[in-house]
């Protein structure tokens, strides 16, 4: 009650602008993030399709972009990667669902700093607009990849797109960093200070743990990327030489001297590797939540799950060098980074084991959210297993610049995280919009997407081992890759089908928003706090009262309880817990 009166000092707004545009309500802001990511994911997907088409039909003139020159291909690749990593994988699982459900799941009426929350969304929006603007300026989008390696990214004359386009790219990412830092600050303070009575840290759902640890990772990582980006901007525009060594471009010696391209790589990957976990940890949280709910079993090893998330977050800061085995680093450093990287396999295996333990002997309800959560585990394993290969310098060096690496990171970071987003969407849709999504279309979407993504990314491992380089716009003329053309053609067709299936999802999403059957307050018979409030939740989340928590988050099939689940707010003593 007290928290309601205080944090939620802003009353429910009436006007359209204050209610839906510049809203202070974490639920509206969460949806804003979600829809921003939805737009971004379709842009990113379209770019990837153009790349796939160009790979097998290099001469084709494509819609919107026309003829694809090698630099056009690199621009598509850069923007695909950047948009997907920043504006989809960082935005939807953490900022989108986290914003919507973290306060509700811990029993708070809003985030700790609602105004900052609004600012953080609109800053992200500005970053997205700046990023898209890079397409439309002279020279077009940059071609330095989402990793922005210097000196390519640090010299205006390095190529088309490296003029204003690259500046916009860097500024967009810097703005995004600031937005993410504001978001992280809000998540951390909210988790630490606004939990309802009885909601101890170890009674938080694993989703909240994942969002909390992700926020800490973001807080520590984005500041470093911001400083790296500032140095890059100075190199490009004020003639400094942080990253640019003595370099000759088009026969001309540049004025720069003495900088270190490796410095950029270190700073970038110090951010870049934790960023991988920023993308996947919320998905792990959602998978845990959904698996437990739909297996009607408590999550197997709750505390082990929490410590595993912490361990992954901690180790995530010690392994950035494994992205740089090719840079000629000392074998001793490479060895250290390699060992640390393989150590991440331990908490990851704990999580996988616990997910399987949760499923074991469960009374599983195979509904769409559950299918996507199982799909998440499957993809996490498939993508994760190639990790220990790449973690070893001796294997990474031949594989690094081949299709093997895109195969690895798309499965584990791209598609697995996307499956986490899908699981979260199907799971929380009834709470967010008050209606159910169509189950049949959901299943069709799941099976096509699962088969499709495996068809796209599994063969890429073989392409990589057969020596197909990554980042090459054209390889069909290379004799030693001729026999791979059929496999590449197969991948492109699989991409077509998988992308087509996403329109099923899009249709299901919007159709169900307006026409789906009305949802009850707790359609999945789940236990956490969001299911105790009305659907959709009122402005202050719990309609004027503050929940009091008496139970852990996953009390399913409790012996002696009247139902097969015990809500977190049920009176104490219902279960033996």
């Amino acid at each position: 009650m007290a928290t309601t009166a205080t944090v939620h000092s802003h009353a429910a707004p009436q006007g359209f602008i204050r209610k839906y545009v510049f809203s202070l309500d974490h639920k509206v802001i969460g949806l804003q993030y979600y829809f921003l990511a939805l737009v971004a994911v379709f842009v990113g997907m379209f770019l990837s399709l153009l790349m796939r088409i160009h790979m097998i039909w290099p001469a084709a003139i494509l819609p919107l972009v026309g003829e694809i020159k090698p630099e056009t291909y690199l621009q598509l690749m850069t923007m695909h990667g950047t948009i997907m990593v920043f504006f989809v994988l960082t935005t939807a699982p953490q900022s989108g669902f986290g914003n919507y459900f973290l306060p509700i799941q811990i029993g708070a009426p809003d985030m700790a700093f609602p105004v900052l929350n609004m600012l953080s969304f609109w800053t992200t929006f500005v970053a997205f607009v700046l990023m898209l603007a890079a397409f439309f300026v002279t020279g077009g989008a940059p071609l330095h990849g989402w990793t922005g390696y210097a000196p390519l990214s640090a010299l205006q004359s390095a190529g088309p797109g490296e003029q204003l386009g690259a500046d916009l790219w860097i500024i967009s990412i810097a703005v995004f960093c600031i937005a993410s830092l504001m978001g992280a600050l809000n998540f951390i303070t909210t988790t630490l200070d606004l939990r309802a009575k009885g909601m101890t840290m170890f009674r938080m759902p694993l989703t909240c743990w994942a969002w909390f640890i992700t926020a800490i990772l973001g807080l520590l990582a984005f500041g470093v990327l911001l400083s790296a980006g500032i140095l890059l901007l100075l190199d490009r525009n004020l003639g400094t030489s942080f990253y640019v060594p003595l370099v000759v471009v088009n026969g001309q010696i540049m004025a720069h001297k003495g900088g270190s391209p490796l410095l950029w790589q270190h700073l970038f990957w110090f951010f870049g590797h934790p960023e991988v976990y920023i993308a996947i940890l919320p998905g792990m949280g959602v998978a845990s939540q959904v698996l437990s709910t739909f297996a009607r079993k408590p999550i197997f090893g709750y505390k082990a799950m929490v410590y595993a998330i912490m361990a992954i977050g901690f180790l995530g800061f010690m392994v950035w060098g494994h992205h740089m085995f090719m840079s000629g680093m000392s074998p001793y450093s490479a060895f250290a980074f390699s060992i640390m990287t393989m150590a991440i396999g331990v908490p990851s295996a704990i999580k996988t084991f616990n997910w399987l333990g949760t499923l074991h002997k469960g009374r599983i309800r195979f509904q769409t959210p559950m299918l996507f959560a199982i799909g998440f585990v499957s993809l996490f394993v498939s993508g994760g297993l190639s990790g220990p290969f790449l973690a070893q310098p001796v294997l990474d060096i031949p594989l690094h610049d081949t299709a093997f690496v895109p195969a690895h990171f798309h499965l584990i970071m791209g598609v697995a995280a996307i499956f986490g987003i899908f699981a979260a969407t199907y799971y929380w849709f009834p709470k967010m919009f008050g209606r159910m999504m169509n189950e049949t279309w959901g299943r069709i979407h799941f099976f096509i997407t699962l088969a499709g993504t495996y068809s796209i990314f599994m063969p890429m491992h073989y392409l990589g081992m057969a020596g197909q380089p990554r980042r090459y716009s054209q390889f069909t003329e290379l004799a030693y890759l001729q026999h791979l053309i059929p496999l590449n053609t197969f991948i492109t067709y699989a991409a077509f089908i998988t992308i087509a299936a996403q329109f099923i999802f899009l249709f299901n999403l919007f159709w169900s928003m307006f026409k789906g059957p009305k949802a009850s307050d707790n359609p999945w018979e789940a236990t956490t706090l969001e299911w105790t409030t009305s659907t959709p939740p009122p402005h202050d989340n719990f309609g004027g009262h503050t929940p009091v928590v008496n139970h852990g988050p996953y009390e399913y099939s409790v012996p002696g309880a009247p139902k097969d689940y015990v809500m977190q707010t049920d009176p104490a003593g219902v279960s033996a817990h």
Binding site: A5, L181, D193, L219, V224, I230, S241, G258, H266, L267
Partner: protein, 248 residues
């Protein structure tokens, strides 16, 4: 002093009295006052604001950790000389205008003290506000020295001094792009100046809230966390000064 850790007391589930579905008595964390009479919970807000500012400071620390590591790496890095085709050390140590910077440091430290006095002043006012609101009770006229204004003036003095230091470096031929060392001098001092300017805006905002007749408790929160931030800026400056002076 408020506690910074989350202090939500929790009933041990093991000891839960069977079937006590009724709401247990509400006990809340560190000094949340004024909950029952409907007035805003300033204690909770202050605690959250402090937690927030500490978190923000961690983010700022990471920005400067990034810059420092770049500094250390670049400083130790040889560079290829195109004339001799050999690797040479091209780092030219910058002789800072140390005297001027010491004066600036002193200004900033004094401003930290005045900021702290402003913080204590408003804390006292906030504590006395409920007493003063009782009709007929007066605790007498208290002289309110404009500590906030003094802090802003001292901050401006510091920034002016930094600008003079830049001019002096430029006079000696050290510009942003002259050498990696001078790039870092400008970069680090400018990054600090931008953060300090942000703190001054916050102080001005805090001063404005007193004109806008905002409740003293709300003003106290703004001033409290801005002053924490200000102290941090002083520490950060000493760190940067030390780095540039002793690791040139």
């Amino acid at each position: 002093m408020m506690s910074l850790t989350p202090t939500i007391p929790v009933k041990d589930p093991e000891l839960g009295h069977g079937g006590s579905g009724a709401h247990p008595p509400v006990a809340d964390g560190g000094g949340d006052g004024g909950r029952d009479n409907g007035s805003p919970d300033y204690g909770g807000r202050l605690r959250r604001a402090r937690l927030g500012i500490i978190t923000a400071l961690v983010a700022i620390v990471m920005v400067f950790v990034g810059l420092t590591s770049a500094y250390v790496v670049r400083r130790g890095l040889p560079s290829l000389d195109e004339k001799t085709s050999t690797y040479v050390r091209d780092w030219i140590p910058v002789n800072l205008p140390t005297g001027l910077l010491l004066v600036n440091t002193l200004l900033l430290l004094v401003s930290s003290i005045t900021a702290e006095l402003a913080r204590r002043q408003i804390t006292r006012q906030a504590a006395l506000a409920p007493v003063e609101s009782i009709p007929g009770v007066s605790i007498g006229y208290e002289r309110n020295f404009p500590w906030l204004g003094t802090t802003v003036v001292l901050g401006l003095g510091f920034l002016t001094g930094q600008w003079m230091a830049w001019r002096e470096l430029a006079d000696r031929g050290f510009y942003m792009a002259t050498n990696a060392s001078s790039s870092f001098v400008y970069l680090l001092t400018a990054a600090h100046a931008v953060h300090l300017a942000g703190g001054m805006l916050a102080l001005l905002y805090a001063a404005m809230t007193s004109l806008l007749k905002r409740p003293v408790e709300a003003r106290r929160i703004v001033i409290d966390i801005t002053v924490w931030y200000w102290h941090f800026m002083a520490l950060l400056w000493i760190y940067i000064f030390g780095l540039l002076e002793f690791m040139r």
